[in-house]
């Protein structure tokens, strides 16, 4: 088991290394002068030269690369060309906000998508199944940004039920200041017992979560359905029914455990998708996370920022996949790969 984890981690590190190197060389190839950007358009030649030295751009490429790797190891992603602030600092503030959305939406997608998939599979070819399938194919066929806009229109503009944008009410923030403990606002509000803020945070998060959730939900329920259908067709399910085992146990114990491995992988996948979808929708919801951050950095060609977010997303994605792999590997079928006769 440990060997397996070490091997997977090694592959993950290798992938990261490739990503880091490619982005580095990419950012140097693209015809654009970072030093110029750093000092601004009015700058003189001498200022640009000075900036080059300040940014280490005067050194040969390989030593820049080595320094870059070294900095990364220290958690230093460089300075944002636009804001002149350390990217790591900006990320540190933005990441918890995004993760909060991603984690909650994936959990919800799982909690809702799994039962839909199971129900759909059990009642194959009934009206419910058709409906369930249609919904799950439907939600993955909608552009997320469009879902975001439509949800806003319906729940906020027309019905006025939920706040339109933002993470929490500013005035509430002034009257009930929230202590930063973990950086995750919701968690902090729970820890400090700040329930008014908690409620407000939840209300603000509903629409972005619904938006992010839609894709993962579709993916989960679709996957659950198709795998469960396969599993339900297996002899061992038919056998346990033939022995008179209760249907509830057949489905929720015998069948589901065989489905979970794959669904876990899907979950990791969809967490990755949710993370990337924040790149598109956070701006729509003015959510102060890495999505808003990268979408602005992309407009400004702020390479250190783009690379910072990319690396963060890569690390999370690799870790997610690793976890999924480990969970799947706990499956006895894989564990005893050696025993085959």
């Amino acid at each position: 088991m440990w060997k397996f984890i070490i091997r997977r981690v090694a592959i993950g590190i290798f992938i990261l290394f490739v990503v880091v190197s490619t982005t580095f060389f990419f950012s140097r190839i693209v015809p654009s002068e970072p030093a110029q950007k750093w000092v601004g358009a009015h700058a003189t030649e001498e200022q640009i030269e000075a900036a080059k030295i300040e940014l280490g751009l005067d050194k040969p490429l390989y030593s820049q690369y080595i320094k870059y790797l070294g900095d990364l190891l220290k958690g230093d992603f460089g300075m944002s060309i636009v804001s002149h602030r350390p990217v790591s600092l900006e990320l540190k503030n933005a990441i918890p906000n995004t993760l909060e959305l991603v984690i909650l939406s994936v959990i919800l997608a799982f909690a809702i998508g799994l039962p839909i998939g199971v129900y759909s599979a059990i009642h194959e070819n009934t009206i419910f199944d058709h409906l369930g399938r249609f919904i799950s194919v439907g939600v993955i066929s909608m552009p997320t940004f469009w879902v975001a806009l439509m949800l806003q229109i319906i729940f906020s503009t027309k019905l006025g039920l939920l706040p339109l944008t933002g993470q929490m009410d500013t005035i509430l923030k002034l009257t009930n200041p929230l202590d930063k403990i973990t950086g995750f606002a919701m968690l902090d509000s729970v820890i400090t017992g700040n329930w008014r803020v908690f409620k407000d945070l939840i209300l603000h998060a509903i629409l972005p979560i619904l938006t992010l959730m839609s894709y993962s939900l579709g993916l989960t329920s679709r996957m659950t359905r198709s795998i469960l259908l396969e599993v339900l067709n297996e002899d061992y399910i038919r056998a346990s029914r033939a022995y008179g085992i209760k249907e509830r146990i057949v489905i929720w114990k015998y069948a589901i455990k065989n489905v979970l491995g794959t669904v876990t992988t899907v979950l990791a996948l969809s967490a990755g998708y949710a993370l990337v979808n924040t790149f598109v929708i956070e701006a729509v919801f003015s959510w102060p996370g890495i999505g808003s951050y990268i979408s602005r950095s992309v407009i400004n060609l702020d390479y250190p920022a783009i690379i910072g977010v990319t690396l963060f997303a890569s690390v999370s994605y690799i870790i997610l996949n690793l976890i999924a792999d480990i969970i799947v590997a706990l499956d006895p079928r894989i564990r005893f790969v050696k025993g085959g006769d």
Binding site: S32, S83, A94, Q152, T170, L174, S286, S292, L301
Partner: protein, 499 residues
């Protein structure tokens, strides 16, 4: 927790919310700032003097209470206000003021160039600041500049600022900043101007990129002032009883620069033809919904240097065809590249309308939205033939002076800066130089020179002068004291507001 809730309600502070479209806090160092940080920083830092263009360019004392210049115009003295404190508690002295301006100049970042021509800055005594000049300069316009003119504490480090700190003498101090979300300003109790109870305890600058959202926040009363509203929305908001619209002529003018160094726009007739093909009226009516006036020359109407009698191009298809024929392209048949700043809806729409108009004379145009940087990169490509044919640029002054419009955009440049027409005419260069030289002494004479230069520029058409836009900003009716000041684009002076 019921009691707590009650208490929360009783203590609800008075807040005003200004909603902007993007995070203003880019440059934190007051020496460096020269963009939209102004939104927050004009409330935190103060200059010596402010200008009020809506009131015949009246100069309003801020940190300076009096000023005078020597007869030859080479020496200026400013008396500083007494009893001014920084948010840190430090007292403002002439020495601090002098050192802060010198720091700005030495750093050379942002708008530091406005001080070009200033030889020395001295603290004559505790509250007298003296400027020694190389040549006569319109000093009041310079010290009231929107950028580069703040008086701040020169002993603070750049790094300290970039950790997200600010310390000025202004009425509001920084309370909290969350990136891409909001900047919260809190009233500075010891402000020299004092406070009355109608003024706001907190001023919130909220960042909302979506215009539709900004509009809704305003309608619901969650925002008091919003900026960058599509004019269609403004139109719709006019019917809302709770909302007023501030609509003032600004100094912001839009230009389409024509690449004069690359065929076919190296041909004067073709450039003139293009100038006749721009649907000015449609743009003013349908893109700007009337909140703009067609440009007349390079310099906008409210600024000195503007020529009331300069010629204007108007949409005229026949004339354009004639000119094209004259220029050797009777059937059009060429392709142009139009670059603009991605995300700027107005520039984009102008492009779409222009493209449509050009198609009538068989000219094809590619519209390419680019990030500001890549747009500049392309515009500054070494070979003029690699550059775009047409690029869009807004200009507005750092201080109320037409110099930038003419000098930066139309004077010959060795290295491309902002002269995106790559225009070079020794006659024009001479006129501009002369105008700048005398602008410190005689504005009338300088104006004449500028007008003469503009006549040549209009004839040679290195740029299409589109429109001078109005700053349109809807705000809640119950907000008192709101007046937009075009000299400080997008800034809102929260201190003047009350409810």
């Amino acid at each position: 927790s019921g009691g707590e809730e009650q208490q929360g309600n009783d203590n609800t502070p008075k807040t005003v919310t200004y909603v902007t479209h993007s995070d203003p806090m880019v440059f934190w160092d007051p020496a460096e700032t020269w963009a939209i940080e102004i939104v927050a920083l004009q409330n935190i830092y103060e200059p010596l003097v402010r200008i009020d263009p809506m009131n015949d360019n009246e100069f309003i004392p801020v940190l300076a209470t009096e000023w005078k210049s020597s007869d030859d115009g080479l020496k200026w003295e400013f008396k500083l206000r007494e009893g001014v404190k920084f948010h840190s508690g430090k007292e403002l002295t002439a020495d601090i003021a002098a050192r802060s301006l010198k720091r700005t100049i030495d750093l050379g970042k942002g708008a530091a160039y406005i001080w070009d021509g200033v030889k020395e800055i001295n603290a004559k005594d505790d509250n007298t600041l003296e400027f020694v000049l190389e040549r006569p300069l319109p000093m009041l316009y310079i010290v009231s500049s929107a950028y580069g003119s703040y008086i701040y504490d020169p002993d603070l480090e750049r790094d300290w600022y970039y950790e997200g700190n600010a310390d000025g003498t202004g009425p509001y101090k920084l309370n909290d900043y969350s990136k891409d979300s909001e900047v919260i300003l809190e009233k500075f109790q010891d402000y020299w101007g004092g406070w009355n109870q109608d003024q706001f305890d907190y001023a919130i600058v909220k960042i909302v990129p979506e215009s539709a959202t900004r509009r809704q926040l305003l309608v619901r009363g969650e925002a008091d002032i919003v900026e960058q509203m599509p004019l269609e929305d403004v139109e719709a908001l006019k019917s809302d009883d709770n909302i007023l619209i501030s609509d003032i002529t600004s100094y912001q003018q839009l230009y389409a620069f024509l690449n004069t160094q690359k065929a076919p726009l190296d041909n004067k007739y073709v450039r003139q033809a293009l100038s006749y093909l721009m649907p000015y009226q449609d743009i003013v009516d349908h893109v700007m919904l009337g909140s703009a006036t067609q440009a007349r020359g390079v310099i906008p109407p409210n600024l000195w240097g503007h020529g009331k009698d300069l010629m204007q191009y108007n949409y005229d298809l026949d004339k354009a065809k004639e000119l094209l024929a004259q220029g050797g392209y009777p059937d059009g048949g060429f392709k142009l590249l139009y670059t603009y700043t991605a995300g700027d809806k107005n520039e984009q729409k102008v492009g779409e309308l222009f493209k449509d108009a050009l198609s009538k004379v068989n000219i094809d145009m590619e519209i390419r939205g680019m990030t500001v940087d890549s747009k500049y990169d392309l515009a500054k490509a070494t070979d003029p033939n690699d550059r775009q044919d047409i690029t869009m640029l807004y200009w507005w002054p750092d201080n109320v002076d037409p110099q930038g419009y003419m000098y930066s955009q139309f004077r010959t440049e060795k290295e491309v800066g902002f002269n995106f027409g790559y225009y070079s005419n020794p006659e024009v260069d001479r006129l501009i130089d002369e105008a700048i030289a005398i602008s410190g002494t005689s504005i009338e004479e300088a104006t004449e020179k500028y007008i003469e230069a503009q006549e040549i520029i209009l004839d040679e058409a290195p740029a299409i002068h589109l429109y001078c836009e109005n700053y349109v900003r809807p705000y809640r009716k119950d907000l008192k004291g709101y007046a937009d000041n075009p000299a400080y684009p997008n800034a809102v002076f929260f201190y003047e507001l009350s409810r």
